[in-house]
């Protein structure tokens, strides 16, 4: 029985690993193909199945008509994502702490309604907001700027930060703050001196989600910029012409995954230590 169970488990894990890796492997081999290698049907191994070409990779670092230079967009993407994530994390953490510790009341609006208001922002499909955001940023003179995108991304990411951190704080006993206050801290001091240092796991998770959703957003980056500011997902679709260069897209996919794969390593470390206890609930 136990043996059967173990075999099944191994098969399951192995199968899933293959499923996860498969598109990446396919992208890897495709990134070394050219048009001829692609139109002749599915092939897998360079030199054996097809003659490799480096065109997919070089086109990502070439400026001019032969490719898209992704270095600029890479930096823009990183800057926008990092700033927006940081601001969202700071504001979201403060708000989540407030919501988990104090009672707010405004007419019939209570804490749970405020939390719901935050989270409900995620329900809205981006398309709803495209035109209004465009007009708003136009009035602010913030179209096609990093600032404008950061502003919009904050609205996207703040709810995530509030969600994760509210859950996290509700897992930290209130007594900890009270103790800090009896020990001479103001409520704000208690937060910074005691709660915050104990919130690293929550902050890691919230930060991770902010980075993921910020880095991967396509729609707003696409609608709210013209030529000056260009984020990574948008620069890749500039290759999505009526003739799709499979090779460049594949190389690009692999590159764009790299930064967040590092995040995965960090997250895994916290996860296996079990310190995320309250971080996600």
């Amino acid at each position: 029985m136990n043996k059967v169970y173990h075999t099944l488990k191994t098969i399951f894990l192995l199968g899933w690993s293959i499923f996860v890796v498969f598109p990446f492997l396919w992208a890897l081999t495709t990134s070394f193909k050219d048009a001829n290698a692609i139109t002749s049907g599915a092939t897998y191994i360079p030199w054996v199945d097809f003659e490799p070409s480096s065109q997919g990779w070089t086109s990502l670092f070439t400026t001019g008509s032969q490719g898209i230079n992704i270095i600029g967009p890479f930096i823009d993407s990183a800057v926008v994502t990092l700033i927006a994530s940081l601001v969202s994390l700071i504001l979201g953490t403060l708000a989540a702490y407030g919501l988990s510790r104090f009672e707010y009341r405004l007419g019939f609006v209570k804490n749970s309604d405020i939390t719901f208001f935050f989270i409900s922002q995620r329900i809205m499909p981006p398309i709803v907001l495209a035109i209004p955001f465009f007009l708003m940023l136009k009035e602010l003179g913030a179209l096609d700027t990093i600032f404008g995108l950061v502003l919009v991304y904050i609205a996207l990411l703040l709810p995530i930060a509030v969600w994760v951190m509210t859950d996290f704080f509700s897992g930290i006993p209130k007594e900890l703050d009270e103790m800090a206050m009896t020990d001479g801290c103001s409520p704000i001091g208690a937060f910074f001196r005691v709660i915050l240092p104990n919130s690293v796991p929550g902050l890691v998770v919230a930060g991770m989600f902010c980075l993921i959703f910020g880095w991967n957003d396509f729609f707003f980056a696409f609608t709210l910029t013209f030529t000056e500011t260009q984020l990574l997902p948008v620069s890749i679709v500039s290759l999505n012409s009526s003739v799709t260069p499979w090779w460049s897209l594949s190389a690009f996919a692999l590159i764009s995954v790299a930064p967040l794969a590092c995040v995965a390593v960090i997250v895994e470390r916290y996860m296996s230590r079990g310190t995320m206890s309250g971080a996600i609930r």
Binding site: S65, V237, N240
Partner: protein, 511 residues
């Protein structure tokens, strides 16, 4: 985005100015990838003489490579020649319209120069700057064919800058059609001669015969027909090509999509329904996944040698005959198949034609324009004029993935194409097919009216429903007609009629 920034200090700018002022001495511009500069209003030499340093030009264009790559290339050259900063943004086709329209409607001066599908003229005309006289008089403009001058014109004024000429025609494999063994076998099997299809019924028949067999002997299965059938791609074009000969009666005037007088949609008339039935029927000869092919898939499929026939723009043709192609010079062009019976909406009857009725579809085509909000209009027009100058046009025509196709009389020159290594049949059939379309008196143009995307996406949706078997052809098109009537009401009949009259004028050869 491709950002081209060229820093030309004051000293070199001065040097350029001096060079420009000094008496002409043919300079060598071959470092820009062209063979040689050709004389003309906006030749390399003429543009080299201009100094736009310190100014910048924002350009929106299609994704790389189709149109996107030549845009980036010529932007790079333009920047180098004039010292201007040229910012180019590339957008996938599906979103190009909204990316241009949102700034237009909200009066945001986002782009100076726009490259887009010419049929959007109905929506964009209010926001475009008419081409100044100076450019109308340019050498390049004089040679543009009548069709494409017409495409660029709105209410008698040229507001788009012609830089591409697009139309649908048939592409087929000569190694099969001209193969005596195959011909004999075809005759034996079907009882009829193997000829290039004259009607869409023939096309479907031939496609079905050759489907699912390895007729090129490479060990992989081959298929009958590759068509653009993906709903949100350019499927609407494919459908119109197929329906046009059945619905466009050479003797009936006054509108193809609508009755110009009443603005009643004609999209569910028997001609269109016949076309749709044949389109649905053709699916059985598609390669696997063929009913979800976008243009790119179609080009890969036919251009890669997988299918026997295809019809769309020149891209697949040029690619199939490119230097590194496996099927180079095994491909020829022919007019789109026609129809033996044509619906006559005046009499309400099918008229029979001894020679199949042809209705060449001058579909879509890329065009360019300058925004009327632009503060850099002089530079913008110079850029467009440079983009399509004689040397650049010749260069771009040769590269299939650029998507630039013949739009000047001089491009319809067999020797030019032979110069690229095309053999007689490949070059001759191409040039004659294109020239004959220019001469046709029964051409169909795109529905160039406000809200064209709504009409086309409604139509594509109906066609897709029929293709997937959700509805019959008649039901699907009845649904489309109903939606078209609603759209017409929303936009306003008079506004539409006014715009549509421009198209009908071209179709009825009055333009």
């Amino acid at each position: 985005m491709i950002k081209i920034k060229k820093f030309i200090g004051p000293a070199s700018a001065l040097a350029l100015a001096v060079a420009a002022a000094s008496p002409a001495m043919a300079k060598d511009y071959s470092q820009f990838g062209i063979e040689k500069d050709l004389p003309g209003t906006c030749s390399y030499e003429a543009i080299d003489a201009k100094d736009y340093s310190g100014r910048s030009l924002n350009v929106i264009t299609h994704a790389i490579p189709v149109i996107g790559e030549p845009t980036a290339l010529h932007a790079e050259q333009f920047a180098e020649l004039t010292g201007a900063e040229v910012n180019v943004v590339h957008v996938p086709f599906g979103d190009l319209f909204q990316r241009i329209m949102i700034p237009f409607q909200s009066e945001q001066n986002a782009y100076d120069v726009l490259f887009y599908a010419s049929l959007w003229i109905g929506d964009f005309n209010r926001f475009l700057e008419p081409v100044p006289q100076k450019y109308l008089d340019s050498t390049g403009m004089a040679d543009v064919t009548d069709s494409f001058t017409g495409v660029a014109t709105w209410n008698g004024q040229m507001i788009q800058y012609p830089m591409d000429g697009d139309r649908h025609y048939l592409k087929y494999r000569t190694d099969i059609f001209d193969n005596a063994d195959v011909q004999a076998k075809f005759l034996a099997d079907t009882g009829s001669e193997l000829v290039v299809p004259e009607t869409w019924e023939d096309y479907n028949k031939v496609a079905a015969y050759f489907n699912d067999s390895d007729w090129d002997g490479d060990g992989e299965l081959n298929y009958g027909s590759a068509e653009v059938a993906k709903r949100d791609d350019l499927m609407f074009s494919a459908f119109i090509s197929r329906a046009a000969p059945y619905a466009k009666h050479p003797n009936v005037k006054g509108g193809f999509f609508f009755d110009l007088e009443t603005m009643e949609p004609l999209i569910n008339s028997p001609g269109f329904v016949r076309g749709l039935k044949l389109f649905v029927d053709a699916q059985k000869s598609f390669p696997p996944g063929g009913n979800n092919f976008g243009l790119g898939d179609e080009i890969f499929s036919f251009g890669g040698g997988q299918t026997l026939m295809s019809y769309s723009w020149d891209d697949a043709y040029v690619q199939a005959n490119g230097a590194d192609s496996r099927i180079r010079n095994m491909v020829a062009a022919a007019p789109l198949p026609g129809a033996g019976e044509v619906w006559n909406r005046d009499t309400g009857k099918w008229d029979t034609f001894a020679t199949p009725n042809r209705a060449p579809y001058m579909t879509w085509g890329w065009s360019s324009a300058v925004s009327s909000m632009s503060e850099e209009q002089d530079m913008a027009f110079d850029f467009l004029c440079f983009f399509s100058n004689e040397a650049n046009a010749q260069h771009d025509l040769q590269i299939g993935r650029f998507g630039v196709n013949p739009y000047r009389d001089e491009h319809l020159d067999v020797d030019f194409w032979k110069g690229l290594g095309w053999e007689d049949k490949t070059a001759n059939s191409y040039v004659s097919t294109l020239s004959n379309m220019e001469k046709s008196q029964n051409r169909v143009f795109d529905l160039r009216v406000p809200g064209v995307s709504q009409f086309m996406s409604s139509m594509a949706n109906g066609v897709a429903e029929a293709m997937s078997g959700q509805k019959s052809a008649q039901e699907a098109l009845d649904g489309v007609a109903k939606e078209w009537a609603e759209i017409t009401d929303r936009i306003g009949k008079d506004r539409l009629r006014e715009a549509y009259a421009n198209v009908v004028k071209l179709e009825d050869n009055e333009g």
